[in-house]
Amino acid sequence: MQLLLDNSWILLSGLRQTFQLAVVTLACVTVVSVLIGMLSVARYRWARIVAICYVEFFRDIPLLVNMLFVYFGAPLLGLPLSPYGAALISLTLWGGANGAEIVRGGINAVPRHQTVSAVALGLKPWEIFRYIVLPQALLPILPPFTGLFANLVQATTLASLVGVTEFFRIGGIIVERTTLQEGHSPAFLVYGFVLVVYFVICSLLTALSRRLERNLQRRGGRVAQVATPRESV
């Protein structure tokens, strides 16, 4: 336990990096999800095909492969990326694919007669989306999106493999350093602590997601019906 206390500052900095990566990723994921989600319900066939290809591609390749591909592939295109940048992009691509499915489910949960009556009032398509569909889609989207955030927090651990010094990586550094300096491995203690921290964060987010879902159902709303986000590592 003394080991954890001695390293509390570095552990906290790792946790901060994890949260920062997860929150920035969530912001990017939200933008990508809304854009791809809108394409997936667009009137134009080509737009729906683009959305389907994006979603299926990034949901069907392992996130780790995706991350390594972005990290090592970007320099070949003349875009050298920092470990953080590569992690952010690959997590966004993966999260965006899962988020787009949630957005699509949320939009589909809005009854069709809502759009039809807005059309009959002479509103433009973007006005119908902004004032009628989006506000009604947000509630069913919120619970699964909170769940996606929990998945993103878990997925940030993969960023350690391209060199981001986030919480899990810091744990690894403490284990390696202590093993070298003191001749015995504190792996069980350190990784056990890391496990508990991730468990607490993600179970709180999952509980929040369930609570939002229950509240919504009590109010007669419908939760976006989507497949569970795939985390293929």
Binding site: V116, L121, G122, L123, Y131, G220
Partner: protein, 246 residues
């Protein structure tokens, strides 16, 4: 020269998956006229009324609004014209996340037909007219079916339309609330509103319609005054239909 019909369609054809919902329909509504469209379920009544404001795009035929030909494939053209033709649906289709007032003011403000203040004043007047002034701040879920339908009528009226389309406006209502909606529609008819009503309420049709149109298998079989249709229908198909429901 006589005034152009508010809405006129010629040779309207619409096919859904090989089934002809409309098969060369000619139809027109004069200014201030109340036309009730009757017919069996699946006869093409709702398809016809939805073709009149572009919610259904006809495969062929011509639509004229106020004498102006509509490009039936142009959504921009339809959007402009929809502001002149109000529509009330069977399932009310109020926006559940908006208050009654916001339901009424959204379209006039967004389409530039009124400022927010003007639209709110208009909403207040319309809620008086539909006898729901106390529900201005309520959400649709707090209203009965009949009240929701009256708000839906107020919402359509807020666009100050030249004509109103009603697609089976009482079909989804409880029997006790049907009358309040019919009373409101009677008032609108008395005030000279041009109306096209798809309805199964034959008593109402007989009372308020200037003209009744009977549709069967996507074709206008017979059209005439309520007396002519309900008492002296010329066509056997009309008589058969009326015999079943009266």
């Amino acid at each position: 020269m006589s005034e152009a019909p508010v809405i006129r369609v010629r040779g309207l054809v619409k096919t859904f998956q090989g089934v002809r919902a409309l098969d060369g329909v000619d139809f027109e509504v004069a200014h201030g006229e109340v036309v009730v469209v009757i017919g069996q379920s699946g006869s093409g009544k709702s398809t016809l009324i939805r073709c009149l404001n572009g919610l259904v795009e006809p495969d062929a035929g011509e639509v004229l609004v106020g004498g102006e030909a509509v490009d039936t494939h142009s959504q921009a053209d339809w959007r402009r014209l929809r502001q002149r033709i109000g529509m009330v649906f069977q399932d009310y289709a109020l926006f559940p996340h908006l208050t009654v007032t916001r339901n009424i003011t959204l379209a006039p403000v967004r389409t530039g037909r009124a400022t927010q203040a003007e639209a709110e004043e208009l909403a207040r007047q319309l809620l008086e007219r539909v006898r729901l002034p106390e529900k201005a701040a309520a959400y649709p879920a707090e209203l009965s079916g009949g009240q929701q339908q009256r708000v839906a009528i107020a919402r359509a009226l807020a666009m100050r339309p030249d004509a109103m389309l009603f697609d089976e406006p009482t079909s989804a209502l409880d029997p006790e609330t049907i009358q309040e909606v019919l009373d409101l529609m009677r008032e609108l008819a008395r005030d000279g509103m041009t109306m096209v009503i798809v309805s199964h309420e034959m008593g109402f049709a007989r009372e308020v319609a200037d003209r009744v149109v009977f549709i069967d298998r996507g074709r206008v079989v017979e059209t005439g005054t309520p007396d002519a249709i309900f008492r002296n229908a010329r066509e056997a198909r009309t008589r058969d239909f009326l015999a079943k429901i009266l």
